[in-house]
């Protein structure tokens, strides 16, 4: 089987496992009626909800129905989102389909994660290259410090520090919300910190490797300008580890956005997910988790596709895919 097809099937399997996991945790380990109504609900209300959701059916049947609904893009309806009344009253109404609400929130998350990634990637490549060009210089030390700090810091705390400095003390930027570019600055910076540290470290070591190779000496001997040697010749060949780490970081960003969105009240999928968990809105939470996880799986797949473009030597036969 061709490599890419096999990777595609692997991703599908993973998605299937994930969806089944959500089913098992939500339906078998937990009791959906109890999760949604809380422990204070009456037995009648619980029974009514179980009846409505089809929870009295045999479990294998529920599983098949669940899978069938998902295949049609039906993640269920929410009785909490947009309802201000008591949950038991909300049950009498139709409920709101959850998937459109989750998808509606995606652009905000993409904007945040995309800005953070572009910023982190551009800065990391420049810093990493400079660090590799001047080993043991101050810029090399800076890259080391950034990458060490970025794996030691809690993201939401960094966001709060930025709020204290730029919003509370200096009054330059809003503490949270959505709408203008000013709203984007602090959350994007917060989210960019971790990928900046990780990517710059990888760029540095990959470039150190490449710059010591004979073809670089050949390019220099031919009189190619140094910036061209570094940013064109070497960087192109160092791109595979850089793409790997960037892909990893992108999937990290999608989940990291959850915390940053909570801190900055940024109306993305992450904030929706945290809110629905707080509201005990099980269908909405399930839809959010499935969508984000599917995106993560998709990103990983895209990275593998990018490999084969960047390096044609990675072909059909390497077993098992990426480590």
């Amino acid at each position: 089987m061709p490599y890419l097809l096999r990777r595609f099937l692997q991703s599908l399997t993973l998605l299937f496992v994930l969806v089944s996991f959500v089913f098992v945790v939500g339906r078998i380990i937990g009791d959906p009626a109890l999760i949604m109504l809380g422990t204070s609900a009456t037995e009648t209300a619980l029974d009514q909800l179980r009846e409505n959701l089809g929870l009295n059916e045999p479990i294998w049947r529920q599983y098949l129905v669940f899978l069938g609904d998902l295949a049609q893009g039906d993640f269920g309806v929410s009785f909490r989102y947009g309802f201000s009344m008591m949950p038991s009253d909300a049950l009498r109404s139709e409920g709101t389909p959850v998937l459109p609400i989750v998808l509606e929130r995606l652009p905000a998350t993409f904007l945040l994660a995309g800005t953070a990634l572009v910023f982190a990637f551009a800065l990391a490549v420049v810093l990493g290259c400079l660090a590799a060009m001047y080993p043991r210089s101050w810029i090399d030390n800076l890259v080391n410090v950034i990458s060490l700090a970025s794996v030691s810091v809690v993201q939401f705390w960094l966001g709060l520090i930025l709020i204290i400095v730029f919003s509370v003390q200096l009054g330059l930027l809003p503490t949270g919300g959505y709408g203008s570019w000013q709203h984007l600055v602090l959350p994007a910076l917060t989210l960019a910190a971790r990928p900046l540290g990780r990517i710059s470290q990888v760029v540095r070591s990959a470039m150190l490797d490449e710059l010591s190779r004979p073809y670089i000496a050949a390019a220099r001997a031919k009189g190619v300008p140094e910036w061209r040697v570094v940013f064109v010749h070497a960087l192109k060949n160092a791109s595979i580890p850089i793409v790997t780490i960037t892909g990893d970081e992108l999937s990290q960003l999608l989940t990291g956005a959850m915390l940053v969105e909570t801190v900055f009240a940024w109306p993305g999928v992450g904030l929706l997910l945290i809110d629905s968990l707080g509201r005990r809105d099980l269908p909405m939470a399930q839809a959010g988790i499935c969508v984000v996880a599917a995106l993560v799986i998709l990103v990983n797949l895209a990275v593998d596709f990018a490999y084969t473009v960047l390096n044609p030597r990675i072909q059909m036969d390497n077993r098992g895919g990426r480590a």
């Binding site: 399997t13 993973l14 496992v17 994930l18 996991f21 959500v22 945790v25 939500g26 380990i29 937990g30 999760i35 060490l148 700090a149 794996v151 030691s152 810091v153 809690v154 993201q155 939401f156 705390w157 709060l160 520090i161 709020i163 204290i164 509370v168 070591s205 999937s251 999608l254 989940t255 990291g256 959850m258 915390l259 909570t262 997910l273 945290i274 968990l277 707080g278 939470a285 988790i289 984000v292 996880a293 993560v296 799986i297 990983n300 098992g320 895919g321 480590a323």
Partner: protein, 322 residues
């Protein structure tokens, strides 16, 4: 390890002797020489003492509300004359004492979580590497699959269903972090299985159990300890995130992450309630990372002779970084 021998054999004879005679004293001396790692190790030691003896060492009762001393800034003195190193919170509780007690929760979650996931992961990884076959295939597939999933998201969902709390956090961390250990334990086992000493142990009739416990595991200790140290840092950060979102440690217990979440409400008036617990997490994770980097350098056969021999020659070889 054969790798040690080949590497030290390549050195001048005098150095070879020194590198081979590695004692605890040599390690201690090397630690003293690396100032950054030394400071980190001392910090971690003090932190452990503070966490373990919080009930004896803390200057105040962490839960004692004193409304006359609300929002005292760091290094401030309350009206009743009490000095507060890191200030007080909205109920007049001493922040420094609360941090010490919070350290107990955060550190024990980090240590226990890493220990449990380590035991599960190492056991599975060693068995997979030792017996190969179907077990290995299945295990490595599970590892690859789980590594590709967003763990924070899954942790949140499980905690949402089974409820938050200390024990559930440990359970979740074990469930979501064993793969890291399993992967490394397997690859170490595969490496060592080729070595002559394993063949020799087998030739004299050692049982599988004996080979694994007395020959394989002791030789895998150092890289696993490095990983263990790094995992503690990762888990402390994860715990902070989960507690911040309300799905981790619950009041009246308090961890550093939960303290940040509480302090957030007073962010415009009492910055120290947010800054201090976060700084505690940052410094702890930083110290763990630095100590791990040192431990990796010193247990790496290629690098360690440089650390374990006195720096008296002028033309030391260039440091190539780990």
């Amino acid at each position: 390890m054969s790798a040690v021998d080949t590497n030290t054999a390549a050195l001048p004879e005098e150095e070879h002797d020194r590198a081979v005679a590695i004692t605890w004293r040599a390690y201690a001396k090397a630690l003293l020489r690396d100032r950054v790692a030394f400071v980190s190790a001392v910090f971690l030691l003090l932190l452990l003492i503070a966490a373990a003896g919080a009930h004896l060492l803390a200057p105040y009762d962490p839960n004692h509300a004193n409304l006359g001393a609300r929002f005292v800034p760091p290094l401030g003195t309350a009206r009743d004359g009490g000095f507060h190193l890191l200030g007080t919170d909205e109920l007049g509780r001493d922040l420094f004492s609360r941090l010490m007690h919070g350290a107990r929760v955060s550190m024990s979650i980090g240590l226990l979580g890493a220990l449990c996931s380590g035991i599960v992961g190492i056991t599975l990884g060693v068995l997979a590497g030792f017996y190969r076959g179907l077990l290995e295939d299945l295990l490595m597939r599970a590892v690859d699959g789980m590594m590709a999933l967003p763990s924070l998201l899954i942790a949140l969902f499980i905690l949402f269903v089974i409820g938050p709390g200390f024990a559930n956090l440990i359970l979740i961390f074990t469930l979501l972090h064993w793969m890291v250990f399993a992967r490394m334990a397997r690859s170490l086992t595969l490496n060592h299985q080729q070595s002559t000493y394993i063949t020799a142990a087998r030739a004299i009739g050692g049982s599988d159990r004996r080979i694994i416990l007395t020959h394989l595991l002791p030789n895998m200790v150092s890289p696993l300890i490095v990983l263990f140290t790094l995992e503690i840092a990762v888990l402390i950060l994860s715990e902070a995130s989960l507690s911040f979102l309300g799905f981790g440690v619950q009041a009246p217990q308090s961890s550093w992450g939960l303290m940040i979440a509480r302090g957030r409400e007073y962010i415009s008036s009492a910055w120290w309630l947010v800054v201090m617990p976060g700084a505690a997490i940052f410094l702890t994770a930083l110290a763990l990372n630095l100590v791990a980097a040192w431990a990796r350098a010193i247990t790496d056969p290629v690098q360690r002779w440089r650390w374990l021999t006195p720096p008296r020659r002028k033309n030391q070889p260039v440091d190539h970084d780990a």
